[in-house]
């Protein structure tokens, strides 16, 4: 009986599962079920301690993801009978300008703010790491403060500051004799404004990460380079930045995922406008669900969205691992 493949797999799992039962346990010709029971009983405490995560994950993540696929094959307004339509949602999605526009917006936004923010974070971390700088904790706290702010509150405040007619920024620019900028009313300026909000909110977070990474680099390395005649900028470029690479990659990965899951910031700052220029995939999924009441279509969008994020993240890891870390 045990020669059947699925039994062999069970046998192998079981062997792994019971490998550290110890010598006090005498192997007898117990049935599989008994041996499972023994293994579980022996390790009941750790298994019990980790079970909340796996139970909640199964109920609130695995099941919804599977259910979502079923949903994506249907036409369903959220209530009443579900209409099976096969892959029609996906074929419609392939030609849906709104969905692909939202994806493109995310890519554009990424290039608008992430390079600037990452650069600023590295430089700022180096500045905060300078030995002579007093009150390091205070500066770090002040720069970090936006990150603990509700993005709804911050979004409205930015909307007020960036208002074309009564905003503080345009008043300041008028003082410098610069013409009023349509911060929230022009396709490109709106994207830039959203980028400004993102930099404001996340610069401190990224700086703190970079700073922590920088503090693991031994100061002797930089001192030695300076003894050899390198100036501060050269030491920074040739020693600090290359050694900081893993941390920079980590923060870029977070920024990619963060940009593609952006919802609150554009939803409050620009409501996705003007002319959908700041509509992100999550806003699009949200609208398909709660405005258009197309639950099946929104589920299909979620699936394609997830696939694209996975591909982009893998591509990023691939490029990073291919390129040579030290020049």
């Amino acid at each position: 009986m045990l020669t059947e493949p699925r039994h062999r797999i069970r046998e192998a799992t079981l062997a792994a599962a019971t490998e550290d039962l110890g010598e006090d346990y005498e192997w007898r010709s117990d049935s599989l079920r008994q041996r499972w029971r023994l293994a579980v009983r022996r390790h009941r405490w750790p298994l019990l301690f980790i079970s909340p995560f796996f139970v909640l994950f199964a109920v609130f993540n695995v099941y919804p993801v599977l259910f979502s696929f079923w949903l994506s094959l249907h036409d369903w307004p959220g209530l009443g009978p579900m209409d099976f339509i096969g892959l029609a949602n996906y074929t419609e999605l392939a030609h849906d300008p709104l969905f692909w526009n939202s994806m493109l917006n995310s890519v554009l936004l990424f290039f608008i703010y992430v390079p600037v923010m990452t650069f600023l974070a590295v430089v700022l971390a180096a500045v905060l790491n300078a030995r002579f700088l007093k009150l390091q904790g205070l500066w770090r706290a002040l720069i970090f403060m936006p990150n603990i702010t509700s993005m709804v509150a911050a979004g409205y405040t930015f909307r007020l500051i960036l208002d074309k007619d009564s905003g503080a920024l345009n008043h300041a620019l008028a003082f410098l004799h610069v013409a009023a900028v349509p911060w929230l009313d022009d396709v490109w300026w709106a994207r830039i404004s959203l980028g400004l909000l993102m930099i404001w909110a996340w610069l401190g977070y990224n700086t703190v990460i970079m700073l922590a990474g920088m503090q693991t680099i031994p100061r002797e390395l930089i001192e030695a380079a300076k003894v050899d005649g390198a100036n501060a900028v050269q030491a920074f470029r040739r020693i600090t930045v290359p050694l900081l690479r893993p941390v920079i990659v980590f923060s870029m990965t977070l920024s990619i995922i963060g940009t593609f899951s952006m919802f609150t910031e554009p939803y409050i700052l620009t409501r996705g406008g003007p002319i959908r220029a700041t509509e992100t995939p999550v806003i699009e999924i949200f609208n398909s669900t709660f405005t258009d009441l197309r639950f099946g279509y929104a589920a299909a969008e979620s699936y394609v969205y997830f696939a694209i994020i996975v591909v982009i993240t893998l591509l990023q890891f691939w490029t990073v691992s291919r390129s040579d870390p030290v020049r």
Binding site: A16, D20, H43, W45, F49, I50, P52, F53, L56, F57, V59, F60, N61, Y63, P64, V65, F67, S68, L71, G78, W139, R140, A141, L142, I143, F144, M145, P146, I148, T149, S150, V152, A153, Y156, T157, L160, I161, S166, A168, H171, W200, L203, G204, V208, I209, A212, A232, V247, F260, S261, F263, F286, T289, F290, F295, S302, Y303, Y305, F306, T313
Partner: protein, 274 residues
């Protein structure tokens, strides 16, 4: 010789940037004290005739006190339950050897890559049609109660608890749960505090999921209330909105300034080692 100008430039950069970071907060506060007409004229920085009228209308017409209470008790319940369950999970992964540990841990870490938007639609359907949890706090507390980030975070802390201490307690006949409760938890308080701050803040500021779940006015949290205060297009009610924003930001600022060190330690722990 070269030092002096470098220092001056550094300080200038740091002070300038800090000022830029703080400016929106000051603008939020000063606007919340201005009447609507003055906000829209936009010509003054400090309010000419500071008034608390915006706050009065926020608390009287929008029942902001109730929304603050909603936000608070949801964040507190979510924080307490998740910190305990994450500590429990982190302890098991750090201090026990059991079959499949490496696989389960890796699986858990990988699960962090699942964006919320992917499960949002089916989860909403579940909450409404199966659990009937619309307009209740449960969807904001239960699904995230034992989350991968928290377990990973606590595991890093638990690794440094000496095994001898646990074994000694076992020899003395303590139960496994008793060991966790009386020995492991008290020795990892700094980690628990860091995690609690992170959870509390993310629950307090959470917007998308509460927006989909909390529809009735009386169950709304502060960010959802702010969203519904917006008013018709063209005449955004910035006066009340700025007062509401101050009310929403202030508690977090106080917590942050008091417990800043714990928070920063929490954020960087994953980044540098991982």
């Amino acid at each position: 010789m070269r030092q002096a100008p470098t220092k001056a430039i550094t300080y200038l950069c740091v002070i300038g940037l800090s000022a830029l970071m703080i400016f929106p907060f000051t603008w939020m506060l000063s606007s919340s004290l201005k009447p609507f007409s003055e906000i829209f004229a936009g010509t003054t920085f400090l309010p000419q005739h500071p008034t608390l009228e915006n706050y009065a209308s926020l608390f009287q017409q929008s029942n902001a006190l109730l929304k603050l209470w909603n936000s608070f008790y949801i964040a507190a319940s979510a924080t307490i339950s998740s910190v305990l369950l994450c500590a429990l999970g982190g302890y098991a992964f750090a201090k026990f050897r059991f079959p499949g540990r490496a696989f389960l841990f890796g699986f858990m870490l990988a699960s962090m890559a699942l964006p919320f938007a992917v499960v949002m639609v089916p989860l909403f359907v579940m909450m409404r049609n199966v659990f009937h949890w619309i307009d209740t706090p449960w969807p904001l507390i239960v699904p995230g109660a034992a989350n991968a980030f928290g377990i990973f975070f606590m595991r890093q802390y638990m690794l440094s608890v000496p095994d001898e201490m646990l074994d000694a307690a076992r020899v003395d006949g303590a139960s496994e749960f008793g060991i966790f409760w009386r020995i492991v938890l008290p020795t990892t308080v700094p980690g628990l505090v860091s995690l609690a701050i992170i959870f509390f803040m993310s629950s307090w500021n959470n917007f998308l999921w509460p927006l989909t779940i909390l529809h009735s006015d009386s169950v709304q949290t502060v960010p959802v209330m702010l969203n519904s205060l917006q008013g018709p297009p063209g005449r955004t009610a910035f006066d009340v909105l700025m007062a509401g924003s101050v009310v929403s930001v202030l508690p977090m600022l106080v917590v942050f300034l008091l417990l800043q060190r714990h928070l920063v330690a929490g954020i960087t722990s994953g980044a540098v080692k991982g």
